[in-house]
Symmetry: C2
Subunit: 574 residues, 2 copies
């Protein structure tokens, strides 16, 4: 429409490309976020949803349903394609920076026998099994003859040996196991795996580059070792020295964010220049930065949030856009890869744990924990794909394996260890059992109103609830102060705990020790058969409502959405 | 080095381009940040430093000193150039989103007579003067005949009328005037200016597109009005409805961040498609989002931080990389633009304020406040440059004018209103007057040690300091509790306040009311001629040290850098 005069070295994108680029980025981001959130709601790693978004938008689905729209949105050549690829490069570099930041490599040294045993066997066994299978039956695991058989087997072995520290950490945190001895051993072993795995992978990339020449290969191995040592000694020292200065003298959070990002970019450029791929340098830089005791927890969180909000989803969703996941799905290959991967990793890690003297139950749990491959596997596979070490079929098989092992991990650990998920009262609230304004002028009235709401929501008899709660109430007040009251009762035969919540802005006298009238009233029913449930819920409520801001917000809520928002804000803040 | 086999639609960037791109991004970011921080230290808007970084790295400087390096780093064609331009497009879109977010357009309505008078005259007078000058003397203000004389004059008039809300807000916050009546009037007027200015600019872009055809121009004007109304009514309503849901149901902060970014991208794509440039849509979307009462302050801050840490510096530094600021610097043009801009804007806004009944002193201050053009002018100018409405010389003149007016603004308001900058004790500390471990076992010893340190730092006589402070100390304790002591004295003839700070981990008895021994000791000298200084500094110290975390950190500091870091952390947290 415009008489577009690119009178400058400023305008390689015409309005059509600008429109397309903005739409493509917006669609990728939204789809990745929506499916990522969905995955989280289902208690799965968000990378699962982000990848699925790419598959939806790529040739696999959108390309089949609306081929023209797909071709317009994600063209296979031209400026939009180049820009998207550039942004994806930036994204994967920053993602590896964050992965490196999570590596606390002094911890590996501290964990002693169990960690080293799990760490070494957890990498050696899957590596050996993977290599043996790939060497003996190369076609079965996707060798297409593009690279030497040995290189392919080495890559396959490495791909099976690597773990996904972020996914493992997330799973342990969800299960409240992160700070336990069990968690420490798993994390230390996973860190060890990551470091060794990435170094071996760099060697493989070097082998491809060296094209079989022993001298060139030696040079590559030497430069990998040199880089690793350089970044983890001189680089680490320089970062440790510079970081306090950056944190002290630059504006928060831009200064430290740019410091970290620039380090990753330069580290990546350095290794890319040396023929080792940028992600290796970014990862090592992350390790060096994460190891500095001067790195504040808040800085680490800020960098992680920055990357995982924007760049990581763009990267993972971008993968599916370039590859047809349906056409390249090979069930036999997927099954073989999955089987070999699980047997090697679970077996190796569990064996290591047993040898270190852990009981069988815990050893299996460690095996399942270490088995999660998550996003690391996908980054590794994508790079191997770019360098033609593997083909699309094998890449899809690796992605499927990475996702399945990650998804399996949590539930299996839980089952093996017999640990239920911790109860959070917010998850037990329901919109039907929410009374936005309690009318009842007194304690009895409030209990009655909430009992009725809970009856509507649960199908129980309102009278029965009220009676049980009131019987407890007569034994002593449930006004716990700070304007909160928690009338409650145990009911036999209940399937799960139930909570009704009501707001009484005018305040209701629950006879609390601090004399304050209750403005927030929770009515709680727990199964008589679960003696611990009541205490757990009460503790969670008082922990959440300790913050005066949360209490103020809760008193002000007028509908269910605002209630969720108010509680959510609290969950975030921790 | 690698047998690079792009076997996929995944690899348009070869290792050489990858290296270059990572280095280019890293260099741009670091240079922009370093110079941006420097600008902030000098109390100037950071955009000044970010632009300077681009000028340094562009043809103007690096291109003259190391032409090969400059040409390698920022090539004028090829994938790196396309990717950088794509990232810059993303950056300016997000920057305009943030600019829109700052617009609280219900405030314009509330400010009544003064704001409307300042707002209207503050835009009408510079517009009229600008148009008259550009129409009468087109060559003097850089008309090169590429567009009709009227279009150029209209653009020139618009460029002089626009204000820079973010810079103005920042200046007012720095001067503690943001929440005052004065501040409210200025902000409301600036918002009005921004909205009207951007609409007029969109019309001008439309005129270029319509190429003089009245029908096409009418269409453009109609679509501008339609878009504005659509986004500010339906769009605003939809956002207001959706936002609480997003804040409640998605993970923080990714969910809401992606929501805002995607809105800006789609808004931008919509207006770009309609021929109005993407930034207009992004800006309007920002206004609609910022207006929702459901937008939490924390969300707003997160979006702003995200954009200003990474994208804004890349955008502004990127400008200098594409344009030779030295070759295109035209002193006459710069002077004319600067003069016409200042006379019109200061005069118009001050006149408006006078007509609304404000006193002359305040009216002039409002004129200087509204005169800041800041980064908005630069975005406007760059777009005009891309559409060939102006040439590089005029663009450079606009940038110079934008920066000078922004830099002038604060000091002039301060001078006119006679308001000094608030004192912060952290700014008065110096490494020489810092005693990492006070040895002195008692009060007297501590005062002596700190007096000596302060003498070394300031050149005053140590005995004189000690005597003055001790005389005050005898009148009553300066131990203010919580392990803090603030011995102090007023000294005649001092140019500015002086502070020595020492840590005594063992604790020194300052006879505080709470019985705690002092572990943090500040020795403060203020000029006898500035009676308010002492109280201001004492208040600032006790406000800063109210937080127990800060006190703990301060006791643990062992060197000057850690001290700065500890105090900085506190400043951040607020």
């Amino acid at each position: 429409m415009f008489p577009y005069v690119p009178n400058l070295a400023l305008a390689a994108l015409d309005p059509g490309e600008v429109t397309r680029l903005l739409v493509a980025l917006g669609v990728l981001l939204v789809a990745a976020r929506v499916l990522g959130e969905l995955a989280r709601k289902l208690n799965q790693p968000s990378v699962l949803g982000e990848l699925a978004a790419g598959v939806l938008l790529g040739p696999a689905l959108l390309g089949r349903v609306l081929p023209d729209a797909q071709a317009w949105l994600f063209p296979t050549e031209g400026p939009t394609k180049v820009v998207l690829e550039g942004i994806r490069l930036l994204a994967v570099t920053l993602f590896l920076l964050v992965a490196g930041l999570e590596v606390d490599f002094s911890r590996v040294l501290k964990q002693g026998r169990a960690a080293s045993s799990v760490g070494i066997l957890g990498i050696a066994v899957p590596f050996a099994i993977g290599f043996a299978v790939a060497w003996r039956f190369p076609e079965l695991v996707g060798w297409s003859g593009q690279v030497p058989r040995g290189t392919h087997a080495l890559f396959f072995a490495t791909a099976l040996s690597i773990s996904a520290l972020p996914v493992i950490a997330k799973t342990l945190i969800d299960l409240h196991l992160y700070r336990s001895d069990f968690g420490m051993i798993v994390i230390a072993s996973a860190i060890f795996n990551d470091l060794v795995g990435w170094m071996v992978f760099a060697v493989i990339l070097g082998m491809v580059g060296a094209q079989g020449s022993p001298d060139a290969l030696l040079g590559v191995v030497a430069s990998i070792i040199a880089f690793t040592i350089l970044i983890l000694t001189v680089g680490r020292w320089a970062i440790h020295r510079t970081l306090p200065w950056v944190q002290a003298h630059t504006s928060w959070p831009s200064g430290v964010l740019v410091f970290a990002i620039a380090l990753a970019l330069f580290g990546g450029a350095l290794t890319e220049k040396a023929g080792l791929h940028a992600i290796f340098g970014a990862f090592l830089t992350g390790v060096a930065l994460g190891d500095s005791s001067h790195l504040r927890e808040r800085t680490r969180t800020t960098i992680r949030e920055f990357v995982s909000s924007f760049f990581a989803p763009l990267f993972f969703a971008g993968i599916g856009v370039g590859i047809d996941f349906l056409a390249n799905f090979d069930l036999l290959l997927c099954t073989v890869v999955m089987l070999v991967a699980c047997i090697g990793k679970i077996g190796g890690a569990a064996l290591g744990a047993r040898l270190a003297g852990m009981v069988p139950r815990e050893s299996w749990a460690i095996g399942f924990a270490m088995n999660a491959r998550g996003s690391m596997e996908i980054v590794l596979g994508l790079t191997a794909l770019k360098y033609a070490i593997i083909d699309e079929r094998m890449f899809v098989a690796l992605v499927v394996m990475a996702l399945l092992t990650s998804v399996m991990s949590g539930p299996f650990i839980q089952r093996v260890l017999g640990r239920p998920r911790p109860r959070r009262f917010a998850r037990l609230l329901s919109s039907k059992a929410f009374v936005d304004r309690i009318a009842g002028p007194d304690r009895r009235g409030a209990v009655r109103e909430l009992s009725r709401a809970l009856a509507t929501a649960s199908g129980l008899d309102a009278g029965r609830i009220e009676e049980a709660v009131w019987a407890r109430e007569k034994l002593g007040t449930t006004g716990i102060g700070d304007g909160i009251a928690i009338p409650h009762a145990r009911i036999a035969g209940l399937a799960a705990p139930l909570i009704a919540f009501g707001v009484a802005p005018q305040g209701i006298d629950f006879d609390a020790a601090d004399g304050k009238h209750a403005r927030l009233v929770f009515l709680i029913l727990t199964p008589a058969e679960q003696p611990g449930a009541q205490l757990e819920i009460l503790a969670d409520i008082s922990r959440t409502l300790k913050d005066p801001d949360v209490r103020t917000k809760l008193v002000e809520v007028t509908n269910w959405t605002e209630l969720l928002a108010a509680l959510r804000a609290d969950v975030d803040a921790r």
